[in-house]
């Protein structure tokens, strides 16, 4: 009976620093650890004593890939604390900004980080030598997402135009209308992306996921909605901490989450699509059907197709918002000045899944307590489950292909390690393996 350990010290093509260790005893996978060694940065601690209005800009710095998600969750949590509802054109502009981030983040992951796995290249630059048109399309799509964030946010990384209550400056109708040709050009690129990735070879895998995402009244979820699952859960954001529990494991700087009573769960594109497919836009719906995407995708490798469908959705949604846009009377809604502490929480859909923020703010407007639960901390345990199943199926593989397969299984979920600290390197340990 041999014991072996497989190890990857530094996962590539993920955002942030992580590693993986798998310990195998004979034909039993004894332990799977996704180790997040990204250094802790203590956001929840230093948010204490900061002004409530500072939360969107400070928390944006948790992640350079999805700063808008942090800004949106922070703004909505503060507005709920102060009992202010932001609606109308400001709400639509927020959605438009989020479309920009979904397009940019998904195109980055799909073309630059994930597609090379399927076509057998170490990166997009080497992929571009043999598939120049595909990579050029991907970069063009990503650029449209970034340009949209620049237009509304001032810049693509850590946008400067978002504030609690709305924006500093709302764009004119003409400024948005001038952007229409770029979105129109992105439509065929997004459609070509869905067709391209739907034609890839996928390993035959089915996982039994508990999918958790927001579900909104009449739209694909971004900034609001109830928290729902494919196992009958339906709660408001206020009940999130009662339903889901974060805990600490010795091998990781990221906290892990479980659904109390049922264990690991999955957030992100697969969950959003499974629970909100009926809310997709016309072309995204038609193309998902045309390429034969099932109503619920349980093969994690096919997440690349779901991401492509969401890119197409975000482009169509951006066009819809842009065409209907009438500037708001004021760029932001003022917050009241209460004489007592307030608290509020909110969940929005970051490209990688639900992002929870909760704050308590004192009567002086200074934050007294903050809690942030990032999508990758929620997915971390579920990714470990995927890996355990993968290794159990692949015990006869040699070390190198098994290690590659593990890294691919991790990239399926687009983990964002920078976000999770509060994530990742691969150590596949088969004891007695000579390593």
């Amino acid at each position: 009976m041999t014991d072996r350990t497989i190890a990857v010290d530094y996962l590539a093509r993920v955002e942030g620093e992580g590693a993986l260790t798998v310990r195998i005893h004979g034909r039993t996978v004894e332990d799977v650890q996704l180790r997040i060694f990204e250094p802790p940065r203590f956001f929840e601690a230093f948010l204490r004593g900061r002004g409530y209005a500072e939360a969107p800009d400070i928390t944006a710095r948790i992640c350079g890939i999805c700063p808008v998600a942090y800004q949106m969750s922070a703004c909505h949590a503060m507005e709920r604390a102060y009992g202010v509802r932001v609606d109308g054109a400001i709400r639509e502009l927020r959605r438009l900004l989020y479309c920009g981030e979904w397009i940019e983040s998904h195109a980055l992951h799909l073309y630059l980080l994930h597609l090379p796995d399927f076509l057998g290249y170490p990166d997009a630059v080497r992929l571009a030598k043999d598939h120049p048109r595909e990579v050029a399309d991907g970069l063009a799509l990503k650029k449209v997402g970034n340009a949209l964030m620049q237009l509304l946010g001032g810049r693509e990384i850590h946008p400067i135009n978002v504030r609690v209550g709305g924006f500093y400056r709302a764009p004119s109708r003409e400024e948005l209308a001038a952007f229409r040709p770029q979105l129109e050009a992105a439509l065929p690129l997004a459609e070509a992306t869905v067709r391209l990735v739907a034609g890839l070879d996928f390993p035959a895998v089915e996982e039994d996921y508990e999918f958790v995402s927001l579900r909104a009244e009449d739209e694909y979820p971004m900034n609001e909605g109830a928290v729902v699952s494919n196992r009958g859960l339906r709660i408001s954001a206020d009940a999130f901490e009662r339903e889901f529990e974060e805990f600490q494991v010795p091998h990781s700087h990221a906290l892990q989450s479980v659904h109390r009573g049922s264990g690991s769960y999955l957030v992100g594109p697969l969950a959003r699509y499974a629970l909100n497919r009926d809310r997709l836009s016309p072309r995204a719906t038609a193309l998902a059907r045309e390429v034969g995407l099932p109503e619920s995708v349980r093969n994690p490798f096919q997440s690349i197709v779901v991401r492509a469908v969401e890119i197409l959705y975000a482009v169509e949604e951006a066009l819809r918002i842009l065409d209907a846009y009438v500037p708001p009377p004021t760029a932001s809604v003022p917050m009241p000045v209460p004489d007592h502490p307030v608290s509020g929480c909110a969940i929005t859909e970051a490209p990688r899944g639900m992002l929870y923020h909760r704050y308590r703010v004192g009567a002086t407007g200074l934050i007294e307590d903050a809690k942030i639960v990032a999508p990758t901390s929620q997915n971390q345990k579920r990714i470990e489950d995927d890996l355990r199943h993968l290794v159990e199926r692949s015990l006869d593989l040699e070390r190198a292909p098994l290690t590659d397969a593990c890294e691919r299984a991790i990239r399926n979920h687009d983990p964002c390690i920078s976000c999770a600290t509060h994530f990742l390197s691969l150590d596949l340990k088969r004891e007695g393996d000579g390593a």
């Binding site: 530094y10 996962l11 590539a12 093509r13 993920v14 955002e15 942030g16 620093e17 990204e38 250094p39 802790p40 940065r41 203590f42 956001f43 929840e44 601690a45 230093f46 204490r48 002004g51 500072e54 400070i58 710095r61 948790i62 992640c63 350079g64 890939i65 700063p67 980055l108 630059l112 980080l113 090379p116 170490p122 990166d123 630059v125 080497r126 571009a128 990579v135 970069l139 063009a140 990503k142 650029k143 970034n146 001032g154 810049r155 990384i157 850590h158 400067i160 135009n161 504030r163 924006f167 500093y168 400056r169 600490q248 010795p250 700087h253 906290l255 760029a331 890294e407 920078s418 509060h422």
Partner: protein, 264 residues
């Protein structure tokens, strides 16, 4: 792997949000030509291929916050002909340097139920506090055009053409109306290094100092104006204590505000 003759580029990450190295991938039009001109030899976020050093140019993102990272940066320096730090974390410790003003053990207890699992230093420090740095590119995040200029200049062996003036100068050049003068909005533009394109005032908000202090800033004078505009001592302390809180001029301004609030 044999050397191709193209300069080798390494990208290294320490404590950070990944935004500054993402800036390189955000150069959608320039990424493939750049990858033809240099050999991307080490860039974990973008490639699983990893080539050995030495590297002709290393871009370093993030600050030093753990004992292991303090050791790793010395290894990166030893492998790098030219080492350029990118972004506020690498050049000034970043937002996570707010721990330098607090008790890190308390921070650890606040965030983690089992603080003993967490290896961290009491401070978050800039890369130049640990190893010699050839050029520092500032910003939270860095500016794309400036990054390309720094890469090209470093490979050509010349000094990068990166301005050292304040955001105010850029506002005048853009023709942006002054938000302090016209709207009474508190703004760090007079003491902050340009490079962002002076975007905040163009969006009707005050500069919040994400590029850190310009050369020889007159912070006491600006603090007087900020106070007239209604910022209390706590507000002044906080406005200088964000992404470049440990940059000397900003640190001095925030500490003066704190001392003033406490009285003589």
């Amino acid at each position: 792997m044999p050397r191709t003759g193209r300069p080798r580029l390494g990208v290294f990450k320490f404590a950070s949000c990944d935004g500054c190295q993402l800036t390189l991938l955000d150069c959608e039009d320039e990424l493939l030509p750049l990858a033809g001109a240099v050999e991307i030899a080490n860039f974990h976020e973008a490639t699983s291929a990893e080539l050995d050093g030495p590297y002709d140019l290393s871009l370093v993102e993030g600050s030093i916050t753990t004992p292991d990272d303090a050791r790793r940066i010395r290894e990166v320096r030893a492998e790098s002909r030219v080492l350029v730090t990118i972004g506020a974390c690498a050049t000034a410790g970043g937002i996570q340097a707010l721990r330098n003003f607090a008790d890190v053990d308390e921070f650890r207890r606040l965030v983690y139920a089992r603080p003993e699992y967490i290896a961290t230093l009491a401070t978050s420090t800039a890369i130049r506090d640990h190893v010699p740095v050839d050029f520092e590119l500032r910003g939270c995040p860095i500016n794309k055009a400036q990054l390309l200029e720094v890469i090209l200049a470093s490979l050509d062996g010349r000094i990068p053409n990166v301005p050292t003036e304040s955001v105010c100068v850029e506002c005048k050049r853009r023709g942006t109306v002054c938000v302090i003068v016209a709207h009474g909005t508190p703004c760090l533009g007079p003491v902050t290094l340009t490079g962002c394109g002076a975007i905040c005032p163009a969006f009707h908000r005050g500069c919040y100092g994400c590029f850190g202090p310009m050369d020889t800033p007159n912070t006491p004078s600006l603090v007087g104006r900020l106070t007239e505009l209604g910022l209390d001592a706590g507000g002044v302390e906080r406005i200088f204590r964000t992404f470049n809180a440990t940059a000397p001029a900003f640190r001095a301004a925030s500490e003066a505000a704190r001392a003033g609030a406490k009285g003589p």
